[in-house]
């Protein structure tokens, strides 16, 4: 006969109420674990999605995500010319916020080195890769954009031609992929007044030099919007993505590491940089919350199970007089604690499945997480039952003889 089950059935209301309270706590523990996994996945998914072996960035930086990195675009050709390099692509990355359709749209803009990289490596759920050098983008569905939507940015029209799912930046913002040219155009988007002011300042600076005074005709060039002085550098890129033959990856990396103006990371190192830098503090914060919740859950279950055991003190004394073994009495308390934990956890998972998809941040619930937290719940319940078990074992059977 299972005394724990029969007692629970007798006090079903209290059991359900307790399990619901515990379920809410476990749901938050699950959410913490899921948000953490989402954070890690979001932080590293871009690195995985671009599918490259090596990341070349500005020397001494940990760019382009954990740190700012600026490289001259000419490095792409230098890298591409190396032996064993199959492909080298320029890469830009910046977080932007713009108005779209009456709402604020925050996104991370990634520049693809069109036509070398059209976004074919991305897992598109709808649409197609970029085929035009200008005016086409691939956007993540989390931004609320649909195929054919047009984004008006920097006096340009960018049309959504492809959609991805859950392709987010480490900050949780959806990603937009554009050609490198469009990305740079957006990055350098400057208001008209600022452009006019800059032209005037350029003319003033020219007049202050001997060259400007000797050749006044140069002033016409400073006012020309299409003029770009040959001495000025092209727009910088953030990184160069290098695809190499796997067997030669170490050798190529060793060669690139010798260059004085670049640093090089493998994709795995790049992921680790993101985890160490971008995700580290939120990760610790989530872990701290999770620990507090686990302790709270243990205390709650412990208190409830202890109270339930106190209520049964007289019954336990009677059972002891019958000769009930400590195992049976301890088992009664332990099984009730486990029942509260398991039922609470079941409700928590059900809550999670329904509610987590509506959370503002992505909550990733893997089978490993669900099983891992379940193992934690069993541990919590077992630990929480100790006080009740100790009380049950200490009950004096003489109490059964009291009136």
């Amino acid at each position: 006969m299972n005394l724990a089950y029969l007692d629970v059935r007798h006090r079903l209301g209290r059991f359900i109420g307790t399990s619901l309270g515990v379920a809410l706590l476990f749901a938050v523990v699950l959410a913490m674990a899921g948000i953490y996994l989402g954070l890690v996945d979001d932080a590293t998914i871009l690195v995985r999605s671009v599918r490259t072996n090596l990341w070349v960035v500005q020397q001494g930086t940990r760019g382009p995500f954990a740190d700012m990195s600026r490289l001259d675009p000419s490095i792409v050709a230098r890298v591409a010319a190396m032996p064993s390099v199959k492909r080298a692509r320029a890469f830009t990355y910046q977080v932007m916020q713009r108005e779209h359709a009456g709402r604020s749209l925050r996104f991370a803009l990634v520049g693809l080195d069109f036509p070398v990289d059209r976004g074919e490596a991305l897992a598109l759920t709808h649409g197609r890769p970029i085929v035009q050098p200008h005016g086409e983008i691939i956007a993540d569905a989390s931004l609320g954009l649909a195929i054919g939507d047009t984004l008006h940015v920097a006096r340009e029209e960018l049309r959504v031609v492809g959609l991805t799912k859950q392709l987010l930046a480490s900050g949780g913002d959806g990603l937009i992929f554009a050609t490198l040219a469009d990305a740079q155009l957006l990055a350098e988007d400057t208001p008209s007044d600022a452009i006019r002011a800059e032209r005037e300042r350029r003319t003033e600076r020219l007049r202050a030099t001997d060259l400007g005074r000797a050749q006044p005709s140069l002033e016409a060039l400073t006012g020309d919007p299409d003029f770009r002085a040959p001495a000025l550098a092209s727009s910088p890129i953030a990184a160069v993505l290098v695809d190499v033959e796997p067997a030669r990856a170490d050798a190529v990396m060793e060669s690139l590491a010798q260059w004085p103006d670049t640093s090089v990371f493998t994709s795995a190192e790049q992921e680790q940089l993101l985890l160490d830098g971008v995700v580290d503090k939120p990760r610790k914060q989530l872990a701290l919350f999770a620990v507090i919740l686990v302790v709270t859950s243990s205390l709650l279950i412990g208190a409830v199970v202890y109270m339930m055991t106190l209520d049964k003190t007289h019954d336990i004394a009677v059972l002891k007089l019958m000769g009930a073994s400590p195992w049976r009495l301890g088992g009664l308390v332990l099984q009730q604690a486990l029942a509260i934990g398991v039922v609470g956890y079941g409700i928590a998972v059900a809550i999670g499945v329904q509610a987590f998809p509506h959370f503002p941040r992505r909550v990733v619930l893997t089978e490993d997480t669900v099983m891992g937290v379940f193992a934690l719940v069993l541990t919590i319940s077992t630990v929480a039952s100790i006080l009740g078990i100790v009380h049950a074992l200490r009950v004096d059977p003489a109490r059964a003889l009291e009136g």
Binding site: L6, L321, S325
Partner: protein, 232 residues
Amino acid sequence: MDALRAEHLEKHYGQGDTLVRALQDVSLRVARGSVVALLGPSGAGKSTLVKALGLVSLPNAGRIWFGDQLVVENGRLLASVQELRRAHLGFVFQRSNLVPFLTARQNVEIACEIGGTPNPKKRALELLDWLEVGHRAASMPDTLSGGEQQRVAIARALANHPKIVLADEPTAALDKVRGRAVMELFRKVAREQDAAVVVVTHDHRTLDIFDDLHEMEDGRLTPTALATVAAH
């Protein structure tokens, strides 16, 4: 043959000026199939003696036998208390003390399980039928009358075929009619289950049911004739 024998039991509480001698040189023999009453005023030591005999609170000195087995000697238990309770003892309390979350049948069945009785459910139903409460087997304790509760409690005490049944004021919460009915059940238990039954009672109206009467006063036990008690 004696089912229960106690010799020279002593039980003290406190020390020095606060020393209370709850049992003083108490000896008792109870034969199988007999019903014995322990009488006496409150504080005389009746419950202390029952606790000692039930191995709930061991005496400081003296010896106790269950049948031929010496189980307590000079305050020391000579075997596992759980084993001894399961093998020899059944308890009936002042109140029925039925486990509130178990039905009448389950209350008896759990005692059968703990006592290692084969087919506990069948045994529980048999006992309830024998005590004429079989029709309430599926009822929860709080739906039973006081008399029915005590019948179920007696059934529970008999679950493990005990050789000794200890009852501490089992009719205290019952009216005259129900009280007598319960006392008659103890006689039935002694005769038909061949058990030694020791009953602590204040109810002098049912003393004719008992085979032996013992009166306790100030921790001492004296055999008493029914006529002597009736004269008080």
